[in-house]
């Protein structure tokens, strides 16, 4: 495992907002022009700080959606009871300036330097964001590591990056489970991820797969526990969670 990914002090810097693109009705991808970006690894996150005119500040962390070497992007889901995510998804416009610092986190990362381990990516909702960085990184470095992505979303219109995921190319197998609403003729999975569903999707443990699980706490608890039940060593299952009222 690589050591720290943080080089020296992480200072706040001003980023300029480029394009803001809708991904779903509640999710936006935001391009950030960061003059002094030190580069990031796939799976890392950054901090965003907003300052009100009375000096009040709010800070939150967001996964980086773009690959290492690409301009910085974040993909943000609006949480109805949130404070920062409604601003980022509804108010923020191209040309605005916000403060960021990063990249942060050296554990939930994939560099592509261990090609002997097939990848299993398990996303719940906007937990797919760091996996977009990983999949783009895989393509950019020409990796042939086989990947299976299982993405749990409420409904098809809630799926983030659907066209891009559909075009993932050779060696990347994307499957969906829709938990609340399935379109007519839906042939994917339905309902929340269960150990049985996971057993049908996951690489056999004897292939020494590396699993990344990202999503709300209940999703991560279920999925990570089920992977251990399938024989995955706990150290081969990396998790990242978000959730809790007011968490963004």
């Amino acid at each position: 495992m690589a050591g720290t990914a943080v080089r020296g002090r992480l200072t706040w810097q001003v980023a300029t907002v480029g394009a803001v693109r809708p991904e779903t009705s509640s999710v936006r991808t935001i391009d950030l022009d960061v003059p002094d970006w030190a580069g990031h690894r796939a799976g890392q996150h950054l901090d965003i700080r907003l300052t009100a005119d009375d000096g009040y500040v709010a800070e939150r962390s967001y996964s980086i959606a773009s690959a290492p070497g690409e301009p910085v992007q974040v993909t943000v889901e609006r949480l109805d009871d949130g404070e920062v995510s409604p601003y980022l998804t509804e108010e923020l416009r191209p040309g605005d300036e916000i403060e960021i610092r990063g990249p942060i986190g050296g554990y939930f990362v994939w560099d592509g330097t261990e090609p002997q381990h097939p990848l299993l990516l398990l996303a719940g909702g906007s937990g797919v964001v760091p996996f977009r960085s990983i999949l783009r990184h895989r393509a950019r470095i020409g990796s042939t590591v086989p990947v299976r992505l299982l993405y749990s979303a409420r409904s098809l219109p809630d799926v983030i990056y659907r066209p891009e995921l559909a075009a993932s190319g050779d060696g990347v197998d994307v499957s969906y489970t829709l938990t609340r609403q399935q379109p007519p003729g839906w042939t994917g999975h339905s309902g929340r991820v269960t150990p049985d569903l996971l057993a049908g999707v996951a690489w056999p443990d004897d292939l020494m797969p590396l699993a990344f699980v990202c999503g709300p706490t209940a999703f991560v608890e279920t999925v990570a526990g089920a992977l251990v039940g399938l024989g995955y060593p706990a150290g081969q299952v990396k998790t990242e969670r978000y959730g809790g009222a007011g968490a963004s």
Partner: protein, 202 residues
Amino acid sequence: MSPVTRGFHGRRREPAEQSGRVPPGQYVTSDFPVLSAGPTPHASLDSWTFSIRQAGDTSKSWTWEELRALPAEDVTADIHCVTRWSKLDTRWRAVSIDTLLAQVDHQARFVLAFCDGGYTTNLPLADVTSGQAWLAYDYDGAPLAPEHGGPARLLVPHLYFWKSAKWVRGLELLAADEPGFWERYGYHNYGDPWREQRYAGD
């Protein structure tokens, strides 16, 4: 001084957030969010022990029954997670680390907490003594749930909550500081929320 963000007003501040009880950059939640790097371990209490180690040897070890027989305290504390949530007035049943260390001869200056699942975190001895740290097994009147670190976790409320190691199984007593899991991955070595020591260099 941070530049003002156009159009950002923030939500109405909670009274608690204005009372000086919430460190900079934190917000108050009534939830108890879960954060961990891997799957939740499920330890069997029959074989569970808490050990104090020195130089690789176990100086003292308690079974679950022995731990539960030690004098315990009701602790009420505010906790602060590096991911920015703070939770006020959390209630724990816990054994003081002072009580445990009193049963061991040592000259240590640092401790490295070790846990099921391989997680570690480092603390100065001075931060886990003098009534500042506990081994906690009940939360809010019920056994501590596995996803929150049960059967037992450290409780070091004056530092960011990653120092309050979940699924803790013991303390290694050390003469020299040794970074733990998140401390090796770019998080601050000490983690004082009041000085916003989130990441290395803060």
